[in-house]
Amino acid sequence: MTRRLVSLAIGVLPVAFLCFSALFPVLALLQAGWSTAVAGLLSDPAIQWRLFWSAAQALLTCMVVLLLGIPVGWFMARHEFAGRSMLLRVMMLPFVLPTLVAGMGILALFGSGGLAGSTLEETPWLLLYGNVFYNLPLVLRAGIEGFGRVPETSLMAARTLGASRFAAFWRIEWPLARPWFLAALCMVFLYCFSGFGLALLLGGYRYATVEVEIYRMVAYELNLGDASVLAMAAMGGALLVALVHGRLEKSGARPISGKPAPRVPVRSLAGRLMGVGVMLILMVFLLAPLLAVLWRAVASDAWSVWLEEDTRLALFNTFRFTLFTLTGVLLIGVCHALAARHTVLLRGFALLPVVISPVCVAFGLLLLYPSLSASLVVLVSGYVLLAYPFVARGLSASLDSLPAQLPNASRSLGAGPLATFYRVVLPLVAPSLRRGLAFAAATAVGEFAVTLFLSRPEWLTLSTLIYQRLGRAGQSNIAAASCLSGGLLLAALLAFILIEWPDHGKENRA
């Protein structure tokens, strides 16, 4: 009983925060949208196109990443080769990479004056390429996991019962891995549908998404009513997909037991050819934009940009906001994870920020707290809302996997509750905490949507500075933006190294 009370008390903080920064703003959006002429707005062909294209580009991305993800995921799940674990790590990079950096990388390849020679600007391809860059790793991780769990004996049984290699893949491996793919595709759809930064940078005018339209309406037309209707539509769509995702997870959950099929070295010619294909796909869709950013940054010859007043302000702000965010994330994330141990409902709340896009969060905050709009509290809460689930979910998972006997053993050996926490629990959950904080830091450093939405000149950050520079005419500004992107990429790499740093004693625990 006291345990429950304590966890409720701990839960008050995250719940209050979620209400302040997510629930109430969304309600404010709903209210604002309600009183607007919905029918008139939705019959506007420009808006219809925007909604259609948002869904269509998300769907197209899903199809592309599925088509690429199945063979690559299968290959990586079934084969052992030199550099495999390195490749798996590199696949984490897009998760910490600021949208703007990726966008710059893609522009460096296919923008005007890009490395590829011909520009794809004002075509849908740039945005799709960016979407694939960000979402292919998501699908690949799911696919490797899904294919990797197919029991060895299921495959052996299928083969001896008369199935050819392909029939065994089509009738056994693919159906067993499918739930993983579908769950990942739902997330891909969500991210693409409510994508903002990439669409703003790469979509041009015609191929931008609903979120960009919302931003335009608010920032340039001050048309809050119509914007909130669109935000509602976007959130409605996202919620729908999130529900489908939940349903899929439930129905797709069939117990798969048995030793997974082992990974084998690549031996046959067909295997080698497939390996080359896999490397090419990963090269084109994963590494090329990153290398392009680096190349542009090195070749930009605009290093003096780091000494400019604006840059110093942006660096200071980025550093400051990240620090504030991490403090908030640590506080709310840890409370959330501790409270969620005994409250299932709170676990679901950790998914809230996935459904509500950054743009909607920022817009809702702006609507609800107009008097606070100049206050750092609002900005930082937006940051924290986007970043804290990384800590909360990771910590929840590692607390779940912590055997109950360990704290009990510690207590029976004479350690008090505090000593037990400090000497046993904390060291065991520290790696996931560190990883969650690194993700949160990467989110804060690269944050773009909320900052732009609530933008005030004195809140200039690195990412908004890059965006500003891109918006100004002249080659020197592009060079400066490239150079700054390179810096941001290095910051992301730092977060990445923190995330992937090997845990001490991990082997012993496994």
Binding site: P151, T153, M156, A157, A158, T160, L161, A163, P175, G258
Partner: protein, 316 residues
């Protein structure tokens, strides 16, 4: 008839199978008995075509199996974890082997239902496989294997995850079915009882080699080594090095003598002995007699008796 000749396999330079030769007449049930890690599952996978041997020849009905993929060998494999496909219903699991070989869905359905009915599983046809108990799952796996009418059924520790009562029922059922269909069987197991119960012949494997192939009765009566005797469950196995002129047989009516040679039959053992005086003579002892060995004076050692190199083995 299945023939294996000189089959060898190694993983990363570690030998797994060493020069295995076996002959299995059609309709015979063979158990490959051995402790875990002795290579018996690899042997089964080689026969199934899932693993290619480094060297050696496999023939089935006189036809070489080299390069024949598993789906064309028409051997069915059954597993310890049943390996039912979790995304398919019971009936779809059973008809899998028919459908992938090109049978029409309706015909496959008919045959699958008939097979399920004959195993008393008809009411489960539309169930999800993970709702079934272990015994039911293995019966579905049996139905799935039998419905394709395989020439040979390969069983990989098929009953070891079932409880004892269930195991015996299913073992009997399998033996009856295989006999009725004239299907050959190769079962690998570490459970000597299972091997003795189900097989016509038993091949014992130890670290990648076949150490003895014999009928059940023969194997029990004359294990070829102390290791095997222990593996077969003899509780008290004494090993003694029979050094000519040193080991003496005492007791009984025999004068002290050293063993020169041992020959044995099913229930009689002939010892060639050399008495102190230098005279050679032969003694025949039945299994019921007692021998007392020189150094083991205090603990009488019983028969049967085996020989392994220069080791003499006494079983009490």
């Amino acid at each position: 008839m299945l023939e294996l000749e000189g089959v060898s396999l190694s993983y990363a330079d570690k030998p797994v199978l060493n020069d295995i030769s076996l002959v299995l007449p059609q309709g015979e049930r063979l158990a490959v008995l051995g402790p875990s890690g002795c290579g018996k599952s690899s042997l089964l996978n080689i026969i199934a075509g899932l693993v290619m041997p480094d060297s050696g020849v496999l023939r089935h009905q006189g036809r070489s199996l080299v390069g024949i993929p598993p789906e064309q060998r028409h051997f069915a494999l059954m597993f310890q974890d049943f390996a039912l496909f979790p995304h398919l219903s019971v009936l779809d699991n059973v008809t899998f082997g028919l459908v992938v070989r090109g049978m029409s869905t309706s015909q496959a359905r008919k045959e699958g239902l008939a097979m399920l009915a004959s195993l008393g599983l008809a009411t489960y046809a539309d169930n999800r496989v993970w709702n079934l108990s272990g015994g039911e799952q293995q019966r579905v796996a049996l139905a799935r294997a039998l419905v394709t009418r395989p020439a040979l059924i390969l069983l990989d520790e098929p009953f070891s995850s079932l409880d004892a009562n269930l195991r015996e029922g299913l073992q009997r059922e399998c033996v009856e079915r295989f006999a009725a269909m004239g299907t050959s069987m190769i079962m690998v197991t570490h459970d000597r009882r299972e091997a003795l119960q189900m097989a016509d012949r038993i091949a014992v494997m130890q670290s990648g080699r076949i150490v003895q192939v014999a009928s059940a009765a023969e194997l029990v009566a004359r294990p070829s080594s102390a290791w095997l005797a222990r593996f077969l469950g003899w509780a008290n196995v004494n090993e003694h090095r029979a050094i000519p002129d040193r080991a003496f047989i005492l007791g009984g009516d025999y004068p002290p003598a050293s063993i020169v040679a041992i020959d044995y039959d099913v229930d009689m053992i002939t010892l060639t002995l050399k008495a102190r005086e230098g005279e050679l003579y032969r003694v025949r002892v039945s299994q019921r007699e007692w021998l007392v060995l020189g150094e083991l004076k205090e603990s009488p050692v019983g028969l049967p008796l085996g020989i392994d190199g220069d080791q003499v083995i006494y079983f009490a």
